[in-house]
Symmetry: C2
Subunit: 257 residues, 2 copies
Amino acid sequence: MGTNDLDTAYFDEQLYVRNVAVDNVIFGYHDRELKVLLQKPKLLDKWTVAGGYILKTESVEEAAHNIAFMRTGLKDLFLEQFKTFGSPTRIKDEWLDIEKVFENAGLNPPTEAWIRDYSVSIAFYTLTEFSLVTVQKASFDEAIEWWPVAQLPRMMFDHALIIEEALKALQRDIYHYPIGYELLPRKFTLPEIHSLYETILGKTLDNRNFTRKLLSTGIIKKLDETRNIGAHRSPFLYKFEKKQYDAALKNGIFLGF
Amino acid sequence: MGTNDLDTAYFDEQLYVRNVAVDNVIFGYHDRELKVLLQKPKLLDKWTVAGGYILKTESVEEAAHNIAFMRTGLKDLFLEQFKTFGSPTRIKDEWLDIEKVFENAGLNPPTEAWIRDYSVSIAFYTLTEFSLVTVQKASFDEAIEWWPVAQLPRMMFDHALIIEEALKALQRDIYHYPIGYELLPRKFTLPEIHSLYETILGKTLDNRNFTRKLLSTGIIKKLDETRNIGAHRSPFLYKFEKKQYDAALKNGIFLGF
DNA sequence: ATAATAGTGTCTTTAAGACACTATTTG
DNA sequence: CAAATAGTGTCTTAAAGACACTATTAT
């Protein structure tokens, strides 16, 4: 999406790249659950991934950043392009839906406008620290909410597939990038990051082996503080070592969990 | 690309998806070198990756298959989407080039036609067995040739970058897919596949360890034939085991070379 | 016999995986 | 002291990596 105005007339052929959408699967982590930020257009009972279009003056990556910014209020988020979807049927299968979207948005693009036509979607996923996000609703949306990836609502078009592929990409990337940095608060405990990895990978990880491997990379560092969690032993807080983290991002690491 | 006619007027807005191109980096392996199939438009001294546009009646993947077919005469090639490129400058940086391309092709799209405009390129790479390919020249091309990836000619637009990224993607994928099947003839020797892997990865691999690992996957099988290579010991021929190969493609394998 | 390439085995080192007890905190 | 969660060490097994000699073929 190219502007901060969520109500821009995307079918303006002068401003926007035609036939191309950008969809951005915004992941957050909270309450031991991996969540996705979804929107529900007015009057429809289907949800959509955050999405928008590309201004002719910006790159695909800038468009994806802008979409993330519009929905979360956050800039410079971690963002990965994972796949581009395009087929004659991915939107038209549910023709009625898109007509309703326009109607509800108070828009009425010409019948022949590209926005009703073949649509390629360049899909990204974004990682955000849940607690920092202040959700931004567009005027044509009835709701914008975090949904657990494990229990999604009815999704519009092929958006369920897009989320599924985003999750696969994330699961692939977690072995090669220090993903936790983006999803956790600045200070976190070992049990928290352990649970994050288990959640994303959908399997249990032996806590001793997990800790050993994670610490051996040198990307996190124990602090001299603990977190009080009630009637239990207080876990130590850790933080990411920016230097090691950046190196890991650049060169890749291998975390064989 | 959507038809078998290499001279189709791509700027026809009724037929083609606007603003979106598909570029396909076609890899082949020959003479111990990894090669790419490139074209040179008439009168320009820059080369391009195989590319084309998407018919509104086909999917992105179909378009990529059609591009590969038009250039190689082969169907059902192994094909992977690896990245989508899009920025306001990737084509316009060399505005003169694209004008010349049109001129040389005898085309004269209207000044405002999308084809001169912002262009998103969905990039794929394709693996082919070099010897099966019969190269197909389009009328607006002066030449179509295999170039060693290690010594590319001057490339148009961002095509050098696209090839670089395709190679990175291939190097990533080689660890998870039984790549050799696509690039080698049906029967091949251990030294041949060994050299293929060394070439793609750009590093030497201990032949004993390589053989041990490759054979342990069960995807190749020793035949009862040898290849005569002159005044040397004759190497045995091997072939891929289709069953194991398909399983490896589907589930992924791990080849830690 | 020589030159060139094919083919194979062992040892060492490192990483993965399995496994269970002790420590801290609060009520 | 009981309940809950944090935190840590060792052994076994598997895989990776390093390394060098013997086998075959044609001239």
